[in-house]
């Protein structure tokens, strides 16, 4: 049992947990993730480690209620525990000194981005962070990102806060302004990462995307997390989650995400039915 010691709502449907997992807390590096199984009947869900406290032996996770499994995870309370937490998995981000780095985060992807921004800043880079959300209410980690970035630009799709528009458009603006950029890191919805890759491609700016591939074991055993990168097939859980965004086949990833839609919807419906039964 991995005990939940803290739970905090960040935005509607977005929750931050601190979970006791001392072994993971002690060895994790930015860019790595865990696989969680909430209870006996649950599936295994990959989640990025947002932060950790090796002294207290805790790791922080940010979970957005999206489907059946995340809804169940978010219903856990302080004092409860997740049945299984495995990690740290995946390759850590290469924390070198590149020069100027632009980090583009979208939605809950910002949670994945935060430890990377922090690490890149510590490695001596100039870090410009673009933090995007659909609207003001859904924006997360503004303060935290501000503290570890040289510049923070907020975007919202509806213009309710910060710049109206997408992260990729702001990035294009920076390039147009002749900002010298050595590296771009994009993390968020697959469509957004694809858009960022297309912005930087003509300028040959090295761009990294962190994929949220479908996973089961997270240990290189199943190949369910396969991703086509250039002319190679890679396992996101072992070789990733970060890949060269100019080589990733994003359309394939989008299709993979929809493969189990029907099954997952059935699970959702079952859960809603059950909840209604209980209420009745």
């Amino acid at each position: 049992m991995y005990k939940i010691v803290k739970k905090q709502d960040l935005a509607p449907n977005i929750t931050r947990f601190s979970v006791e997992a001392p072994e993971v807390a002690r060895s994790r590096k930015p860019g790595q993730f865990v696989v969680i199984r909430a209870e006996e009947t649950s599936e295994r869900v990959p989640l990025t480690i947002v932060d950790s406290d090796p002294e207290k032996g805790t790791i922080d996770l940010i979970i957005q209620k999206a489907g059946f499994s995340t809804t169940r995870l978010v219903s856990f309370e302080v004092g409860d525990g997740f049945l299984d937490v495995l990690g740290p998995l995946g390759r850590p981000t290469d924390m070198e000194k590149y020069g100027t780095v632009v980090c583009v985060g979208g939605g809950v992807g910002t949670a994945v981005l935060y430890p990377i921004v922090k690490g890149l800043k510590e490695a001596g880079n100039e870090v410009i962070t673009i933090n995007g959300a659909r609207n003001k209410e859904l924006l997360i980690l503004e303060e935290e990102l501000g503290a570890v970035s040289d510049e923070l630009i907020i975007t919202t799709d509806d213009g309710s806060y910060g710049v109206k528009g997408f992260g990729s458009t702001v990035l294009q603006g920076l390039i147009d302004d002749k900002k010298n950029i050595d590296l771009v890191v994009a993390i968020g919805p697959t469509m957004m990462m694809k858009a960022v890759a297309e912005v930087t491609r003509p300028y040959k700016i090295h761009t990294i995307a962190s994929l949220n591939a479908i996973m089961i074991d997270g240990t290189g055993m199943c190949g369910g997390c396969r991703v086509t990168v250039g002319d190679e097939v890679k396992f996101a859980c072992v070789d990733g989650p970060e890949f060269d965004a100019h080589l990733v086949d994003f359309d394939e990833q989008i299709a993979k995400h929809h493969y189990y839609d029907k099954e997952q919807k059935c699970q959702m419906d079952l859960m809603i039915d059950k909840a209604e039964e209980e209420r009745a």
């Binding site: 495995l86 089961i216 240990t219 055993m221 369910g224 299709a255």
Partner: protein, 477 residues
């Protein structure tokens, strides 16, 4: 007395007892659920079958067994009705008879060399083994072995498949402290995530694992060694005196064909993990699983048979499941019994056929497999006739689900983080065969991580060998 003897009818050659069939569930009933296919011998059948053993003084069967079970010895006890004694006899060298009786390829081992096989079908050694082990467990007669006084030595066992289980059992008995580190959320390795319930009920595996827990093993799940902790940290910081690595060969191989990354195409490891470890076939479990109407399983080993039969069960009556295999029938590597059961359950065999690419729809889902027909040519290095493509025989087969079962190789988490561990170019660990010693002091290995994917019994044999060497090593510290 003498009178009586004279009145006896003239000696007649005794009637040969035929090999006893093991009761199994009807194919059309069993291919709809995950309950066990074979039902096992009854005591009556076991008694008859045991009489077929000739008690050969040279007992070639024992040499055919990778762990040298005293086969005539245990069969003799069966014939006397001492089923529990027979189970204990097997356990002198094989800790998991209820598992091995179900999954060992007996037809290539003990039963292949059985003397009776020269004139008739061999003695059903595997079925007898399974029977006595089940009998012992069902009677609640399994006794904990004696444990030697504590030595104060600590051993880390990495991986909890048959190799790791065997090593742990032996070392615990020798009085050492054992901690098992397992990456997954359950112990058992392939026995829990690979081999399906209908062939090896998980309750049986759980019972064996319970024994190790009772003997005092400390269990650490969700520990991917090489990531969560390194081998060096176990030895230098955590105070372990020795390490055994039994991490198996878990990395699935793919065909590297065009279209292989389409939706609907998975490795057998993925498909079987969803079914077995994550129990996707049970409604209360939330891991999704999807089987279309036309399933193609590529390969013809045990893994392919398990995947095909599981797909049939998940998919239901109107799903068509085919095995696609580039060689001929008698070259299929699966256990004879599994092939037979698969065929009975309606699995189609598309032999001398090789896939060359996968064709997908607009939404990136597989819709067809393009194949080419093969014919057998000259024998290759392995002595098997080499399959050669027949030009112009390309054809497409409608397919909406593809399961690739081509074999597995070791993963690299440990070798990448432990540079002084020597590996082969296939990623298997190089060890001294007699001891399981690796190139690193105090580190031993065995099972699929050394041999590449092999068998349960070979992994157990390697565990036994390593346990003896670890005992010696610890005694010398």
């Amino acid at each position: 007395m003498a009178e009586e003897k004279r009145t006896r009818p003239p000696r007649k050659k005794p009637e040969r007892i035929p090999r006893q069939e093991m009761p199994v569930r009807l194919p059309e009933v069993r291919n709809k659920d995950f309950n066990e296919v074979a039902l096992g011998f009854t005591p009556e059948l076991a008694l008859i079958e045991a009489k077929r053993c000739l008690q050969c003084p040279k007992h070639p069967c024992v040499d055919g067994c990778p762990v040298s079970v005293d086969i005539p010895g245990f069969i003799h006890l069966v014939s006397e009705g001492d089923f529990i004694g027979a189970a204990q006899k097997i356990k002198e060298t094989n800790l998991l008879p209820s598992v091995c009786g179900r999954v060992c390829p007996q037809e290539e081992q003990c039963e292949q060399v059985c003397v009776v096989a020269k004139i008739d079908k061999p003695v059903a050694i595997g079925r007898l083994e399974r029977f006595v082990a089940d009998y012992e467990r069902e009677q609640g007669a399994v006794e904990l072995p004696k444990v030697a006084p504590s030595t104060g030595k600590k051993v880390a066992v990495v991986g909890s498949g048959p190799a790791g289980i065997t090593v742990s059992y032996e070392l615990l008995q020798a009085g050492h402290k054992v901690t098992i580190f397992e990456a997954l959320h359950e112990l058992g390795g392939v026995l829990v995530y690979g081999i399906p319930e209908f062939r090896l009920p998980k309750a049986i595996v759980a019972a064996e694992i319970e024994t190790i827990k009772k003997l005092g093993a400390e269990i650490k799940l969700n520990m991917l060694i090489g990531k969560t902790r390194t081998i060096d940290a176990l030895l230098d910081e955590d105070g372990f005196d020795a390490v055994f690595i039994g991490t198996g060969a878990g990395l699935p191989m793919f065909l590297n064909l065009p279209g292989e990354n389409l939706n609907g195409i998975s490795s057998a490891n993925e498909f079987l993990t969803r079914v077995n470890l994550m129990k996707a076939y049970r409604e209360e479990y939330t891991t999704p699983i999807k089987v279309g109407k036309k399933v193609a399983v590529i390969g013809a080993g045990n893994v392919a048979m398990d995947a095909a039969r599981a797909a049939k069960r998940v998919g239901g009556d109107d799903v068509e499941v085919s095995i696609i295999y580039r060689r001929a029938r008698d070259q299929m590597p699966a256990r004879a019994e599994e092939l037979h059961h698969a065929e009975e359950e309606g699995i189609i065999f598309n032999l001398l056929t090789n896939p060359i690419r996968f064709i997908g729809s607009e939404n990136n889902a597989v819709t067809a497999t393009e194949c080419i027909k093969m014919e057998l040519g000259e024998p290759d290095d392995s002595g098997r006739r080499r399959p050669i493509p027949i030009e112009g025989s390309e054809h497409t087969v409608e397919t909406d689900t593809v399961i690739v079962a081509l074999g597995t190789t070791p993963r690299k988490f440990i070798s990448e983080t432990t540079p002084d561990l020597k590996t082969s170019k296939w990623g298997t660990f190089l060890v001294d065969e007699e001891t399981g010693k690796t190139s690193k002091k105090g580190v031993f290995a065995g099972g699929d991580i050394v041999t590449g994917s092999a068998t349960v019994i070979k992994a157990m044999g390697a565990g036994r060998v390593a346990a003896i060497a670890i005992n010696e090593y610890l005694a010398g510290l």
